[in-house]
């Protein structure tokens, strides 16, 4: 009886909290109107009291078929990321990015030690064995962040009401991240939506397969 009562109180509190949460739906499109996947959307509350005390969560970036999965991984600053290797070959993961320089010596399986990302910014991942492998970790200074899906949309369902600076980052965007900033005021029970249009640079990657450019003597 007492357990049921406690559960009921918890449910009421949760519903009350949800009732006071604000919603924001963000759509990111390219210049042709097509949804942009893998764009990181960051909502920074103007009132720091709205930045709830969120504990960084452990996270992971896998390596599958000699690619980083996911291609873009947003995390909260201070988070620890593991780099499991699901391939049956070894990888040597590294980053030269000023935000976090590190190197994981050649390893297979889940043997690599986790890496803590304690500064906000963009970390570019590579593999010293497989030159075409590239991945991105976006270390967010705000706990309110998310990544767009294949349709270029993402929804925040539990933001504290208030004023936010919302900005976008994408690995191929053709302008500075700061230029995407917008102020958006969110109120409880009044879902908001916003749309960004990003110019994307052509994504040139080190080719995984190369043709035979050299002539050969018969």
């Amino acid at each position: 009886m007492r357990t049921q009562f406690t559960a009921g109180i918890a449910l009421i509190l949760a519903c009350a909290a949800a009732a006071h949460a604000a919603e924001l739906k963000v759509t990111v499109k390219d210049h042709k109107g097509k949804g942009v996947a893998d764009a990181v959307v960051l909502a920074v509350p103007i009132d720091p009291r709205n930045a709830q005390r969120v504990r960084p969560q452990p996270d992971a970036v896998d390596q599958v078929d000699k690619e980083f999965v996911p291609y873009v991984k947003p995390i909260f600053v201070g988070s620890t990321v593991r780099f499991p290797n699901s391939d049956n070959i070894r990888h040597q993961v590294y980053s030269f990015s000023p935000v976090k320089k590190f190197e994981l010596p050649l390893y297979g399986g889940t043997n690599a030690p986790p890496v803590t990302f304690d500064k906000p910014g963009v970390v570019i991942l590579g593999c010293n064995i497989h030159d075409w492998m590239i991945g991105y970790i976006y270390v967010s200074e705000t706990p309110f962040f998310a990544k767009t899906g294949p349709q270029g949309t993402v929804a925040f369902n539990d933001l504290p009401p208030g004023e936010y600076t919302v900005r976008i980052w994408h690995p191929s965007m053709d302008r500075a991240e700061e230029t995407t900033s917008r102020r958006i005021t969110l109120a409880a029970e009044a879902p908001a939506s916003a749309e960004w249009q990003l110019g994307l640079k052509p994504s040139i990657r080190v080719p995984r397969v190369s043709g035979g450019a050299s002539p050969s003597y018969p």
């Binding site: 070959i89 040139i204 080719p207 397969v209 190369s210 043709g211 450019a213 050299s214 018969p218």
Partner: protein, 300 residues
């Protein structure tokens, strides 16, 4: 295209083939740093006979396929050893005597100076192979050694160069011919190659390559035509018809290749290329080859 398996599929390849297939099977199942690649090509050579005189020029088309299996072993922070093999075959549309199957074992040591895709690298390699032709007198054991250096400048541009020696030791079946050696198909050569690859966009890349080669070349004349030079060896070459003769000469070849590749997926690409070779052989027996080519490559 008629495909004829070499009639003289020698014991060497016959014995090596199961080992190679076992090697492939192990590479598929083993937990190791294996790389497997396959490629195929259709090409047309407007001077397969490497002939100087127009009357002796023979052109033909061919289809070729290769399977490569390599195991990569990291032996230091930036040093890796690769060991493996290539199994390949080529079939000609008309000159079935040139159909061949070959098996090659390769060993190479690669060093990178630094971490990442843009670090310069060098690779030293040796290989031992056997090429068996349908017309068995062409069959040879092939020894190669090479030194390669390269550097990727950014995501678009990559440059590399290769200097290599090749020694082909043909089956000693060719008798002396009028006091001149009949060992035409044993050859030595050294070559310098350089290549530049430029990615136009995410799918299309251009390749530009050049070649300098100096050493033995084989030029075949049709029945009733002869080379008047101090050739190093001469032998009948029935691959090109009765009365044809193959001459071994000293020559220098200059070549260039321009190609375009299109990525079908992360693993595969198709390409087309055009190769032009100009050979200056002793006695003024110069000849040229033009080879347009369609290629397909798949890397697992």
């Amino acid at each position: 295209m008629r495909c004829q398996v070499p009639r003289t599929f020698s014991g060497a390849i016959r014995a090596s083939l199961p080992a190679f297939l076992a090697f492939c099977a192990v590479s598929h199942t083993a937990h190791g740093d294996w790389t497997v690649a396959t490629s195929a090509a259709l090409s047309h050579d407007n001077n397969v006979s490497n002939a100087h005189s127009y009357a002796s020029v023979v052109e033909d088309s061919s289809a070729a396929a290769t399977v490569s299996v390599l195991q990569l072993m990291q032996v230091g922070e930036n040093t890796s050893l690769a060991a493996g093999g290539n199994l390949s075959g080529q079939a000609y549309e008309r000159l079935s005597g040139l159909n061949e199957a070959s098996l090659e074992g390769v060993l190479s040591l690669k060093r990178k100076w630094g971490l990442g895709a843009f670090a310069p690298w060098a690779r030293a390699g040796i290989s031992l192979g056997r090429a068996d032709y349908a017309d068995g007198y062409r069959s040879a054991t092939i020894y190669r050694a090479s030194l390669e250096v390269g550097k990727r400048f950014d995501e678009r541009v990559s440059l590399w160069a290769n200097y290599g020696f090749e020694h082909r030791r043909a089956s000693p079946t060719q008798a002396e011919f009028y006091g001149v050696s009949g060992d035409v198909f044993s050859q030595n050569g050294r070559a310098l190659k350089a290549a530049l690859q430029y990615s136009l966009n995410a799918r299309i890349s251009l390749g530009l390559g050049s070649l300098w080669r100096h050493g033995d070349v084989v030029s075949t004349t049709a029945a009733g035509t002869y080379l008047y030079a101090n050739y190093k060896a001469v032998a009948p070459d029935p691959t090109f018809g009765a009365g044809a003769y193959a001459y071994k000469l000293n020559g220098t070849t200059y070549g260039a290749r321009l190609g375009v590749d299109y990525s079908l997926s992360a693993h595969s690409l198709i390409g087309c290329g055009f190769q032009r070779l100009e050979t200056h052989a002793q006695g003024g027996n110069n000849y040229s080859d033009s080879v347009p080519q369609l290629t397909w490559t798949y890397r697992f």
